[in-house]
Structures are given as C-alpha cells and as structure tokens.
C-alpha cells in the first residue's frame, strides 16, 4: 500500500489516448495520497521531442515502448524504471450508425475522409497504418486520409463529422465523458503490432518521491480497474 509522503506535485506527460483515464486515476490518487498530478498531453512523438529538450516532466506515459526506450538510452529516462502500464486497442468508428460494419467498410469506402493519427508521431497512427496495410487498402485509401496531430485531434475530426470514419483508440470510444454513438468495429489484435504503452521516470522526477510513488500506483488494482473500464487490453507478460 502507498507510503505517506508530504504532498508534492508531479508533472506527468501523457499520450493523448490516455489523458482521460489518467485524470480519473489522478483523482483517485489524490484521494489516496494527497499528491496532485499536473498533466500535459500531446502525441507521444511530441512529448518525446519535448523531453529531449529539457521539458520539466517527471514521468512520461507514452503510447509506445520505443520512445521510453530511446529516452532511457539518451540518459533522459531513469534506467530500470520503464514498464508497460497498458496495452491499447484500435477501433474503426463513425458517427453514422450504419457506416461501419467491419473490414469491408474500409474496402468499400468510396466517399468522404478517413481520419488517422499522424503515423510519424502518434503510435495509434502507426497502428492504423499497419492495419490498413494488412487489410490491403492502404494505397486505395491514401488519398482519403486526413492525419490528426495526435489521437485526440483524430477523434475530433470524426466527432465533428468532418471525417466519415476514423481509426481511434478504444479508450476514446469507451470514454464516459464523450458518450460516443454511431457504429464501430474493434480491430483484431493481429492486424497491427501491439500498442504497448510504457511509462518511464524521467530525470527531473528522480528526486521526487511522489513521482516514484505514482509509478507504483499505476500498477495498483484501482488504477488497473480504471484502465479496464476504458477498454485497455490485459497486459500478458509481467
């Protein structure tokens, strides 16, 4: 159980897909420990670039394993603190209650735009690209793609009706704050490399007890429970 420490602030940089679950976990964490999180959200790629340039983040909650590993190599992440906190899932979603039936909805798409996150900066965008390639529709749909800066903007493109469909994070679809309707298809797990979301303690957080404590808190049953409500997959390997 959490050790009581003096109330401290923890700056957590979080990938956009995990922003709302984190806020919920933060509420619970504050009740349990009295410590407050200051949350900064953007695409994993952007947060990585910011951390590399001295951003005062104590913790990074990325949407991939690659960037935390790079930060560890660069000496910006604290060696040995990296772990998988969640495994993300991808969904195809449309506001239209009939537009999405399954893989064929992508193959048959002939009007409107398909929103994905920018594959270069957002791991969910990379997973989206892999899925489209796996389905053999990448070349065909390329002219119809719009790229969100991160997964939050991707959702926004679809939610405002500006894109007919989008490949978004399951956690966004399940988010009780969004109350999303329409139609969706859960992308089977074998369609893309797993979205292994890793956390890492960063140099500025090394002396921050609350930051270290929050890293542990992410593994607690109450945090896991919230993640489950948001549709994250189970973590297979310990």
């Amino acid at each position: 159980m959490p050790v009581m420490v003096e109330a401290e602030e923890v700056h957590v940089a979080v990938a956009s897909n995990f922003l709302n679950p984190l806020k919920k976990i933060a509420q619970q964490y504050k009740q349990d420990t009295g410590n407050a999180l200051i949350v900064i959200s953007a695409s994993t790629g952007k947060l990585y670039a910011q951390a590399r340039h001295g951003a005062p983040f104590d913790i990074l909650l990325a949407a991939d394993a690659k960037r935390p590993a790079l930060l560890e190599q660069d000496g910006i992440g604290v060696m040995g603190t990296r772990f998988t906190y969640a495994v993300g899932a991808l969904v195809l979603w449309s506001l239209d209650s009939e537009a999405v039936q399954g893989a064929e909805s992508l193959a048959q798409m002939n009007k409107g735009r398909l929103a994905i996150a920018n594959p270069k900066t957002a791991p969910y965008g990379k997973a989206a690209q892999e899925t489209l390639m796996q389905l053999g529709v990448w070349q065909k749909l390329k002219p119809a793609l719009v790229r969100g800066e991160n997964i939050a903007q991707t959702l926004q493109f679809v939610a405002t009706g500006n894109a007919q469909m989008g490949l978004i994070a399951k956690s966004q679809l399940e988010d009780p704050n969004f109350k999303l309707k329409g139609s969706h298809w859960d992308i089977p797990i074998h369609m893309h490399d797993p979205v292994t979301q890793q956390a890492i303690l960063l140099k500025p957080g090394r002396g921050n007890l609350a930051a270290q404590q929050f890293m542990e808190y992410l593994k607690s049953p109450s945090a896991k429970n919230i993640m489950k409500q948001y549709g994250y997959r189970d973590i297979k390997k310990p």
């Binding site: 929103a115 920018n118 900066t121 793609l145 719009v146 493109f157 405002t160 500006n162 894109a163």
Partner: protein, 227 residues
C-alpha cells in the same frame, strides 16, 4: 552527414495558396477599403473592427469556427457538400477561405490608408472632366494608390505563407493538398528531422526578410504624388 531531401510540394502549395488568397483579397478588399476611407456612416467603426478581428483573435478561434461552419454539417460546408459531394474542410478551397479571413486586415488596412490619403478630390476632378466613376478609379486612383497596393500584396502574401494555427485545425495535413510549408516544418521538428526543418525555416526567414526589405525600399521611392 546525409544530404537531406527536401520535399518541394509543401512550398509549392504555400505559394499557390498565398497567390490565390491575395488575388481574391485584392478584389474583395478594394471596395471595403474605399468605403471605409470615404463613408460618413456610423457603422464604419463596426466594419473597421470586424476587419481587424483576425489581428487580435488567436488562430484557434478562427480554426474552431471554420471547422464547424465549413464542415459537412455546417451552414456553408453542408450545402457545398450536397452540391459537390465533398466538404470544404481538409481541402485547398477550405484553406483559401480560411486564409482570406486570416489575412484580411493585412490587405484592407494598407489600402484604407492609401485611399484616405488620396482623398476624394482626384476622383471628383476626373469625373467632372467626363470620366465614369469606374474609369476614374482605374486610371486615377489606382496609380495613386500603388504604394498601398504594393504593401497590401506583399503583407497579404507573406502573412498567408506564415499561416499555421488555422491550417493545423482545418487542413488535415494532407500531402499535396493541405500540407503547407509551416505544417511541414512543424512535422519535421516533431520527428526530430532538424536538417529539413532548418532548410525550410531558414528559407522562409530569408524570403520574408528580403521581401520586407524590398517593400520598404520600393515604398521610399514611390511617394504618393497628388498632382
């Protein structure tokens, strides 16, 4: 070191966007500026304020409203979608509309200033000599206002090239359509491809500086002569 490959397409799109935007703005801004310079109407201040709004509003406000209005369910985007089958957001046309609003004050204000300093007399003199109003405008006012036009064209063009926030919100980052130079720089910085970002940024910096120096020096040699 690898020699970075520069994608020229975003530069080309930015240049096209700025050219089309300034062309349309000159046509739209001329009557507005003329009216502002000569009207006695009380609503003048309201129009002046409306024109100046894009100067003070964050681009996100403009981007947010455009996303709603130009989208497939918006008052403008909806009918356009019904007619053409595609919405205005995430399209070059959408970016032109956004840029017209965004760069409006940069074109209207120099023209307004020019028309004001010319006054009404040259136009009235030409008309009293038998010229039609339109004829008098083109052969008398336009040459007298060339300083104002030059400033308007250059500022409108440069400001559109520098557009970022609005394009980020309504453009959708589509290569070959809506990925303009500022977005390309942003993307490169995000993925730590600094060599490309440097080349594009330095290019834009030098271009903007040279253009401004040219405008200021030409403006000095082009005094407004009222004969």
């Amino acid at each position: 070191m690898n020699i970075p490959i520069i994608d020229l397409q975003p530069i080309w799109i930015s240049l096209q966007l700025a050219t089309v935007t300034v062309g349309i703005l000159l046509v739209l801004a001329t009557p507005v500026a003329w009216w502002l310079a000569h009207t006695q109407s009380r609503s003048r201040v309201v129009v002046e304020a409306l024109v100046a709004l894009p100067l003070v509003l964050p681009p996100t406000v403009l981007g947010f409203y455009l996303l709603i209005v130009l989208g497939p369910h918006g008052w403008i985007g909806g009918p356009v979608q019904a007619l053409t089958g595609s919405s205005l957001t995430f399209s070059f046309t959408g970016l032109v509309i956004a840029s017209i609003l965004y760069s409006l004050p940069f074109v209207v204000q120099p023209l307004h200033g020019a028309f004001e300093s010319i006054g009404k007399i040259p136009l009235e003199t030409a008309q009293s000599l038998g010229a039609t109003r339109l004829d008098a405008f083109f052969s008398v006012i336009l040459p007298l206002a060339r300083r104002g036009y030059l400033t308007a064209i250059v500022l409108g063009f440069a400001h559109t090239l520098g557009e970022f926030g609005v394009v980020l919100m309504v453009g959708g980052n589509i290569p070959g359509k809506t990925k303009v130079i500022s977005i390309e720089i942003y993307d490169r910085v995000e993925v730590l491809e600094y060599a490309q970002a440097h080349i594009l940024s330095a290019g834009l910096l030098v271009f903007s500086f040279v253009v401004l120096v040219l405008v200021y020096s030409v403006n000095r040699r082009l005094p407004v002569q009222v004969t």
